[in-house]
């Protein structure tokens, strides 16, 4: 691999479900280090499937996903180690309900990165500090608001010191007044140079933060470009129609 090749290189990715549904119908895409790629599109267009393929929560039917020079689709790949570098934030938070916030943050670093409890807790507390939730360290997830849960979910992923962060509609399950606090954390993360792939319906976030926007429809990337191009000069009729509905 040459130096200027993309960090994530996706070629002709396809995902077919039984019954002939083509969730992904040949996706090609490059994602570079430090990029914030926002994926938009109507529901059922395959954006979540694509995102979830990147860390193999969905197994693609065919195609290649080359991360840092390694094709992760195929036999004999240490997928668990790959996932440690590529953490995910979910729509429904998926915090571990039987553990305190602090334990949610320290579990994976202690078990997988073999950090000592003290080391993991220091790191966890500084992350909690960053998102303004240090005082909730000993609370259980059920005692938190949706916005708080999602901020915890983000720092739980960050505690693994990933190289890429994947966001699967992180604000879709939130009350409107809590969306801002989560987006704020994501913006800060983007400004620090984290490589991010974000599936979202927050067009404002896409305009402001994205370095590149992908528009997906029917399992394909129909149009891509910098946000000002996509939102101000959409070319493809499907994108024009989509934007006229959501903006």
């Amino acid at each position: 691999m040459s130096d200027n090749s993309a960090y994530i290189h996706v070629t002709n990715l396809k995902k077919y479900y039984k019954g002939g549904i083509h969730a992904l119908d040949g996706v090609d895409c490059d994602i570079n280090r430090g990029e914030v790629v926002v994926i938009i599109g109507p529901s059922g267009s395959g954006k979540s499937t694509f995102l979830r393929s990147l860390n193999l929560l969905e197994i693609p039917t065919t195609g290649e996903i080359v991360v840092n020079g390694t094709n992760i689709v195929g036999k004999g790949v240490k997928i668990d180690q790959h996932r440690q570098k590529m953490c995910m934030v979910f729509q429904h938070f998926n915090l571990f309900p039987h553990m305190t916030v602090l334990r949610n943050l320290t579990l994976a670093p202690m078990k997988l990165l073999k950090k000592s409890q003290e080391e993991a807790e220091v790191k966890a507390m500084s992350l909690l500090q960053r998102v303004g939730l240090a005082d909730r360290a000993n609370a259980y997830p059920s005692q938190l608001s949706g916005g708080q849960k999602q901020r915890i979910a983000i720092v739980r992923a960050l505690a693994m010191e990933p190289e890429v962060m994947l966001f699967d509609e992180p604000t879709s399950a939130l009350d409107p007044e809590m969306v801002g606090e989560v987006l704020e954390v994501m913006k800060e993360l983007a400004s620090e140079g984290m490589t991010m792939v974000v599936v979202t319906h927050e067009m404002g976030f896409a305009k402001e933060v994205a370095s590149r926007v992908l528009f997906m429809d029917a399992g394909k990337i129909v149009e891509e470009g910098p946000p000002e191009e996509i939102f101000n000069h959409p070319k493809h009729p499907r994108l024009q129609e989509f934007l006229s509905k959501v903006l």
């Binding site: 929560l57 197994i59 996932r83 995910m88 309900p97 997988l112 259980y140």
Partner: protein, 254 residues
């Protein structure tokens, strides 16, 4: 001495009859010892059958839920592991169908008179028979518990980099345990009471002991009610212990 004498002198006739019945059934010829021996055997069978059942249940639930959870990803690769798991899963299904589809008394008799026909250690045979029976129910309780956990919990664990087994151990099983505890406790209570058919293969368990006394004294009330009360007391104590444990585990849902 004087006091007791005067009490029984003035006691109503039904009470005196009960006292005589009590002495006849439990004190005379040391018949209470039968109940103690029977209780001991009942507890022995229940305890060891419980352990066997838990081991079988955990193994089978692990196989079946692993197969269900990973079927899609393994069908893509169709390696040796996939076929092995498929065969083992099929064997587990057969076991569940047979055990849950036949009465436990029949299973006990088959074990005693056919499978272990050469062994006359009926206590051991009963422990194995009840253990194998209980394992089927425990397996389905655990599998139900595993499948009831939101798939997002699996995905969250896997996306952090835990492998399947680590996700199960650190994230899923602790939640499953809390959820299935009442059902599991119920299965143990059922098991305790089901051992009352052990008399079929010549074991003097609690029920059989009461029945033996009845056969000797021709007085049914005292021994049978005593047996019932002992079962009841054990179940009440077991239930109380489990609710105490449940309350401790529910801390995270304040």
């Amino acid at each position: 001495m004087v006091l007791t004498n005067s009490f029984w002198d003035t006691a109503p006739p039904w009470l005196i009859k009960m006292k005589e019945d009590f002495i006849l059934n439990f004190v005379d010829a040391g018949r209470w010892k039968w109940l103690v021996e029977g209780l001991g055997n009942t507890l022995l069978i229940t305890l060891f059958a419980l352990l066997i059942g838990l081991v079988i249940g955990v193994v089978i639930a692990a196989v079946r839920s692993t197969y269900d959870k990973n079927r899609e990803s393994m069908e893509m690769q169709k390696g040796f592991g996939y076929y092995l798991l498929k065969i083992v899963n099929g064997i587990c299904n057969l076991y569940l169908t047979v055990i849950r589809g036949t009465p436990v008394v029949v299973q006990l008799l088959i074990m005693y008179f056919i499978v272990f026909a050469s062994s006359r250690d009926s206590l051991m045979v009963a422990i194995i028979a009840f253990g194998i029976n209980s394992g089927a129910y425990v397996a389905e309780i655990l599998r139900g518990g595993i499948m009831s956990i939101d798939n997002g919990q699996f995905e969250a664990g896997r996306s952090l980099g835990f492998n399947y087994v680590q996700t199960m151990i650190h994230i899923i099983i602790p939640q499953v345990f809390k959820n299935v505890l009442p059902t599991l406790c119920n299965e143990f209570i059922v098991l305790l009471k089901e051992t009352s058919v052990a008399g079929y293969v010549g074991i003097v368990d609690l029920t059989k002991a009461g029945d033996l006394i009845r056969g000797r004294t021709f007085s049914a009330f005292m021994p049978l009610i005593a047996v019932a009360l002992i079962y009841l007391a054990m179940v009440v104590i077991l239930t109380a212990l489990v609710s105490a444990l449940e309350r401790r585990l529910r801390k995270s849902e304040r």
